[in-house]
């Protein structure tokens, strides 16, 4: 009979049912899922949460001191809650963030004052405080928001004019630098020293070109002097206007005024017995209409006291219990900021959900489209996003032709053999080489050798040029070799259709000749005595001889080349041989078959490789540090300025930004929240690219789906 008590051993039984394997593999699967999900959840949570406007809460410490901040995170450690507070007011407190232990706190429930405003500034980060006075108009707090908004509109106008003026200055500087460059070019071309002539202004005995260049410089200098005076005046005027408007805030930072004798029980009930003494202590005149004082408890031992003074503004004081009948009174530190520095402001503790969402959306918009402030800790990541995207696109445009053609040769043309296998294995291994190696190579080869060559010719790149005669004879030889290569190519093209022993011989000879031609061209280039570089006049300032967009893109292209080759090869080998045979049977040649049948069929796979390379390239950081990414770039690598694409500019890169913000900036602790947001962004971009790939591939696949039978 067949049943559980048949003769099979229990072990065999279990093995046969395979139940434990199901559990084991299922468990592993669950763990893997969990790890991936928790990574995603972590980045998502941290990244999304950072920009959310929180309440600003004030905590009382055991020693009576106060600490206020936006609660960024809270974690349990060593038997205490550690609160991570964004305390802000950096210009006064000298820190952005602070850790507070729950053991230090006298009162675990903080006080969130509804009148407190958060001001995001262009400098010094967030300010938290109570608005007290606007310098340009005397109003109460009621119209504070309207007044500030209106004022900001005007200062924005001033800022725009200021930027314009500074641009003009920059343009004038550029013009003069250009004029100097043309003098330098003349110097290099004519091998003369024009320094003296430039200084003295006497141009006798100089060539017309030199005279023209010196004249131009003098002319531009003269005009610049006039213009500069005007512009500088205007700038000074604008700066003055800009600093006209300021806002006075009371910061929630206590400044002790003195002690007051009054029973605590009365005080905490809101009764200030000795008004005269209190008024004297806080420096307010008490007359017949004694100051209107209101007191509210904000903690077990802390009262917030609001005093309405004559001009109807309200001043705040802290009253802290010292004993049954004594307490200390503190005022709030005052601080003035320029209206022009304000980016965004809102009463953070009073916001409803929708207003909060509004602020959140506004911050995201700034994050995605704005320029960085505060060395990248605040503001936007647009230059980094832009730099990443532009660099990635150039990289893919560079890598695709090379990768696809190389794979095509290996899969369709090359003769199968040990050499090909060796090359294939090497390429596969190349994909595993640490990316920093590519960075080092990019720096030493692209930046220093190729870049140096472009800047200042062979000598700058470290090569000794040949004498002119030797070089020209080598050129003649090269011409002969390349002519021979061409002839052999034509011959073997004719022999192609035939089966002859000549064909393989011609192929070998042709290959060798082409190789020789290629090597010859490179050799002649680096040995040329007649090339002095395109940017010799700018030296010793490097133009291409340093890390820049072009070299970063090429380094990454090299790094992703194996990815593209492997993916393309896979795509090509997935093309059914029956299609190739069908094509040949129709009388198609090899290239026709490749071009009309193989490549279209392999296209989805090739595009997949392309996107994989893009995703890999977009996320690569290590080589970027060496070949062109910088933490803060003033100019975009692609902009509206001729020639639009600036290959020689350094650029900002999202991945590098994460690294430099989180680990290289002076205040990396404070930058951490931004790091998470940037990480989320990078993740989103890479996911977007991959998703596009999948969508594209699916769309292309549809065309090739066969409905067999």
């Amino acid at each position: 009979m067949i049943g559980p008590n048949s003769k099979r051993s229990a072990q065999a039984q279990i093995a046969a049912q395979g139940e434990p394997m199901v559990w084991l593999s299922g468990g592993m699967f669950a763990i893997a899922c969990l790890m991936i999900l928790s990574l995603l959840a972590f980045v998502l949570w941290q990244g999304l949460w950072t920009l959310w406007p929180r309440n600003y809460s004030i905590y009382t410490r055991n020693d009576g001191s106060l600490v206020g901040g936006e609660l960024y995170s809270k974690h349990f450690q060593d038997g205490q809650n550690k609160l991570y507070l964004r305390v802000g007011n950096y210009d006064v407190s000298n820190r952005h963030f602070a850790y507070v232990s729950s053991l230090e706190l006298a009162d675990q429930t903080p006080w969130a004052d509804p009148d407190l405003w958060l001001v995001e500034r262009k400098e010094w980060g967030n300010l938290y405080g109570f608005p007290k006075e606007l310098s340009w108009t005397k109003t109460t707090q009621d119209h504070f928001a309207d007044q500030v908004t209106q004022g900001m509109r005007e200062t924005a106008k001033i800022d725009r004019q200021l930027a314009q003026a500074k641009n003009e200055l920059k343009r004038i500087d550029g013009d003069i630098a250009e004029a100097r460059l043309s003098i330098r070019r003349v110097e290099l071309a004519e091998k003369v020293d024009l320094q003296r002539a430039v200084e003295s202004g006497s141009v006798e005995g100089l060539s017309p070109a030199a005279r023209r260049a010196i004249g131009q410089l003098a002319d531009r200098n003269r005009r610049a002097d006039d213009a500069m005076v005007q512009i500088n005046e205007r700038i000074a005027e604008l700066e003055a206007k800009r600093s006209e408007r300021s806002v006075l805030f009371e910061l929630p930072i206590a400044q002790e005024l003195g002690t007051l004798t009054a029973p605590w029980s009365e005080l905490s009930a809101g009764v200030v017995g000795d008004v005269q003494a209190f008024a004297k202590l806080i420096g307010v005149e008490s007359n017949a209409s004694s100051p209107a004082i209101s007191v509210e408890p904000v903690g077990k031992e802390l009262l917030l006291c609001k005093v309405a003074v004559e001009d109807q503004s309200i001043r705040r004081f802290w009253i802290r219990r010292l004993g049954e009948t004594t307490c200390s009174v503190s005022g709030l530190q005052e601080h003035t900021i320029l209206l022009a520095d304000v980016v965004r402001f809102f009463p953070t503790n009073r916001l409803g959900l929708f207003q909060r969402l509004g602020v959140y959306a506004g911050r995201w918009w700034e994050f995605l489209s704005g320029a960085p402030r505060e060395a990248g800790m605040e503001g936007g990541f647009f230059p980094a996003i832009w730099g990443t995207v532009v660099m990635t696109i150039i990289m893919s445009m560079a890598v695709m032709p090379f990768g696809v053609l190389a794979a095509l040769y290996m899969r369709e043309y090359a003769k199968r053999g040990w050499l090909l296998s060796l090359i294939r294995i090497s390429i596969n291994n190349l994909a595993g080489v640490p990316s920093i190696v590519y960075g080092v190579f990019g720096l030493s080869f692209f930046c220093y050798i190729v870049g140096g060559y472009i800047d200042g010719g062979p000598k700058k790149a470290g090569f000794e040029p040949w004498p002119s005669a030797v070089w020209f004879s080598a050129l003649g030889l090269l011409a002969l070799v390349s002519l021979a290569a061409f002839a052999v190519a034509v011959l073997s093209g004719q022999a192609e259709a035939r089966r002859s022993p000549l064909r393989s011989m011609l192929r070998w000879a042709g290959g060798l000749l082409w190789l020789a031609t290629l090597v010859g061209i490179v050799w002649l280039l680096i040995k040329s005595p007649h090339f002095q570089g395109f940017y010799q006049a700018q030296l010793p300032n490097p133009t291409f001889g340093k890390g820049c967009l072009l070299w970063a893109a090429l380094t990454l292209a090299l790094l992703t080349l194996p990815v593209v080759i492997v993916a393309t090869e896979e795509a090509l080998s997935a093309v059914p041989n029956s299609l190739r045979e069908g094509s040949y049977a129709c009388g198609a040649g090899q290239w026709q078959t490749i071009h009309r049948i193989v490549l279209p069929y392999a296209r989805p796979g090739i595009i997949t490789g392309f996107i994989l390379a893009m995703a890999r390239g977009a996320g690569e950081v290590a080589p970027m540090m060496l070949v062109g990414a910088i933490p803060l770039a003033t100019d975009l690598p692609l902009d509206g300025e001729f020639p639009f694409l600036h290959g020689s500019r350094s650029f900002m890169h999202l991945g590098f930004q994460i690294y430099s913000l989180g680990f290289q900036s002076q205040n990396s602790e404070a930058a951490k929240p931004m790091v998470y947001t940037a990480t989320l962004l990078l993740l989103a971009i890479v996911t977007l690219l991959n998703q596009t790939a999948i969508w594209l591939r699916a769309n292309l696949r549809k065309r090739f789906q066969s409905s067999q039978f």
Binding site: K415, R416, A497, R498, R499, S500, P576, S578, L579, R580, E581, G582, S583, Y584, A585, C586, G587, A588, G589, Q592, R596, I597, P600, Y601, R703, F704, Q705, S706, S707, Q708, F709
Partner: protein, 274 residues
């Protein structure tokens, strides 16, 4: 059975080719043709004619070299690096394997249909006119005309005339195979090479293709490989029986199936073999 045994033992035997075949006009004549995959010999000194305007069937047990022989006629075996040949074939009296022959031109004179339908991943129209496209034909009118003519020739026109620009892969297996036949006759070849064209098809599709071959008879010279004896007897004019790389007997189909010279052939075609 002794002849087949002799072949299996590696002995050389005389192929029996009936006079009635030799008397006809040939389009391809195979002359003492041998083929090697590396060391391994797949065809042994095959000599046989393929008669002009008629259907010649190649039959034989699996692995006996039918496909290899068929693929040699349009030199598809050139694509396999390890292949080496001896002997020659003549197409209308001109050598096929001479070094000076342009393979591409040669293949254009032959149409080939494979065992599994292999339509290209492009529209039905583009599939059919592919041989013209690679010749650089751009004239829409010519292409359309050839397309219709070939599809009619392959008995597919009525089924696809409204969906010419849909993917060739959207057709059924039988339709795909007829599409491949249409493609093979689009360049108006002299010889059609069919390698088990019906092996992947159901009886109805098979019937259609057999009708088609029947209609193409006379216009084209057809060499067809088949495992189906009934099919061979139904559609072919001549039948060649191969065994382990050798041609055993070749005669008019009626002769092969009713009164072959060799008892081995009779055993094979009546299914008493092996």
């Amino acid at each position: 059975m002794n002849r087949l045994k002799a072949i299996a033992d590696g002995q050389t035997i005389e192929s029996v080719i009936h006079q009635e075949v030799l008397a006809r006009e040939t389009v391809v004549s195979i002359r003492d043709f041998s083929l090697f995959y590396n060391r391994k010999q797949a065809l042994y000194n095959i000599s046989m004619p393929i008669v002009k305007g008629m259907v010649t069937a190649l039959v034989g047990p699996s692995g006996c070299g039918k496909s290899t022989l068929l693929r040699s006629v349009n030199r598809m075996n050139d694509l396999i690096e390890s292949v080496r040949i001896e002997g020659d074939m003549l197409l209308n009296g001109e050598s096929i394997f001479a070094p000076s022959v342009d393979v591409i031109q040669l293949r254009k004179r032959m149409g080939m249909v494979f065992q599994k339908p292999n339509p290209f991943p492009m529209s039905i129209f583009e599939n059919v006119v592919y041989p013209l496209r690679i010749d650089g034909q751009r004239d829409k009118r010519v292409l359309m005309q050839v397309c219709e003519q070939s599809l009619r020739g392959a008995a597919l026109w009525e089924e696809v005339k409204d969906r010419l620009y849909e993917s060739g892969l959207s057709l059924s297996g039988g339709q795909q195979q007829r599409l491949c036949i249409a493609r093979a006759i689009a360049s108006d070849p002299e010889v059609l090479l069919l390698d088990e064209p019906c092996s992947a098809l159901d009886p109805i599709a098979t019937g259609k293709i057999e009708d088609l071959i029947d209609r193409l008879r006379g216009e084209y010279s057809i060499l067809i490989v088949t495992h189906n004896m009934q099919q061979a007897s139904r559609i072919s004019d001549h039948t060649a029986f191969m065994y382990l790389g050798r041609l055993v007997e070749m005669a008019e189909t009626s002769t092969i199936f009713t009164r072959p010279t060799l008892s081995e052939t009779e055993d094979y075609v009546t299914g008493r073999f092996g």
